[in-house]
Amino acid sequence: MNSKDARKKYVYYPGCSSQGSSKHLDESLRAIIPELGLEMEELDDWNCCGASVGNIGGGPLPTTALTGRNLAKAETQHATDVITGCAACYLNTHGANERIKADVALQNKVNESLAVADLSYEASLQVRHACEVIVNEVGIDKIKERVTQPLDGLKVAGYVGCQTVRPFANTESGGNYDTFDDPEFLDQFAEACGAEAVDFNVKTSCCGGSISVISPEKTLHLIKEILQAAEDAGADVISTPCPLCQTNVEMYQAEINKKFGTDFNLPVVFYSQLMAKAFGLDGRKDAGLHRNTVRSEKLDILVQNA
């Protein structure tokens, strides 16, 4: 095959949350990616990326070796690109991949580790976030073309969070797909789906990440600010690409209401769930909209199929 004709081959790395708290991100991504004209196959026997605390729990090199194992497996599947929808998987896998590419000594150490399981990584792959691929390879126009059930009247606060854009969105290896502080892609996704993107000025504020899991008393006020800004902007739903953002901003609403005397009841969904709906796919099976724990009338209408 002529290299000019060679299509990109995406190997999909779902990450651990896809089998637990963020099943609905996984389900909706698997539903929309083919609709957007991309083919992907699942990474064979994938392992954890090391998340936020792998470095602390296991040390830097073992954590890099975790990624090395995934990338070595992706190479045996003849992938050109690894695609993931998870912010932490992207941060760790892309970051480690770029470090390995830039540092032969590190690559050798990773390969010395992988050799005990008869694996090796030739540093041939690109690791990409699903949002970057949708922006750069698919394009907003293609999303619009695919929409059959526009989300008319739905007001969406696009909450990007941190690691989906920082520190790589604005770098060459990260695809230069948006900015660190004021990214627009989530708003563009929502509007391409026929929804209204509300003006939301905390789109890249931090939800507390894993600290919200470890010591929520330190970070509930951060989540409160995100909810408050979305409510003030008149949003019906918050849309996010990040598994931990989705879970944190959704799950802690009851505790925030108790602590701060607020009255939040704001559904938090993945952009891919909204896209699946706008593409006319099944509200449960494809969009996974029955899995969101904070419910509203509008969300309950959205989950139903026309």
Partner: protein, 205 residues
Amino acid sequence: MATPLPDSSQKYDLGFARWVYENVKGGDQLSMCMQCGACSGSCPIGTDMDHGPRKLIMMIRAGMKDTVLRSNTLWNCTSCYRCTVRCPRGIPVTSIVQGLAAKAVSLGYADEVVTSRFARSFWWSVTHFGRTDERLVTAKFYFSFGLAEGIKRGLGNLKIALDLILKGRMHLGLPHKVSDTGGLQAILEKAAEIEARDQLGEDKS
């Protein structure tokens, strides 16, 4: 010749700055810091930190080993990377903070630190299954504080857990595993061995 980690008898030991420079990812950029404070000002959780990243960098350069490695700044970092992208000198602040946290653990400064406990529970899941079992990591973390505290924390989050179970977002049953846990464990052990070997080599030379 690499710089050995200074002992703590001297409150200020410039050898520590050099040690960080040589042993912590991004540490070689430390001398670029001009103390502008964009990092600490950008930190979402800076008010919970004893020092914050700007002061931490100054203390590293001053050689305050124990103060740095005992600083809660290492444990409150949410990995939001705002400091990193905003630093006008291009210093990878998050990497340095995270790298110091890993060093503090391996040097025994952090056994009782809450983030460190969580990291141990997390790594237990990674090494046993090759994947994060959110349910078991959380349970192991809660019970690391003892039986009574574990039950208390579990009950405190019962509603969240039930919501997740009802929506099919908490895995029930045996943990998901990679197929060759043995191979994965061997890789991790080998990597830890190489890391230890490198560390030893640096200390010996």
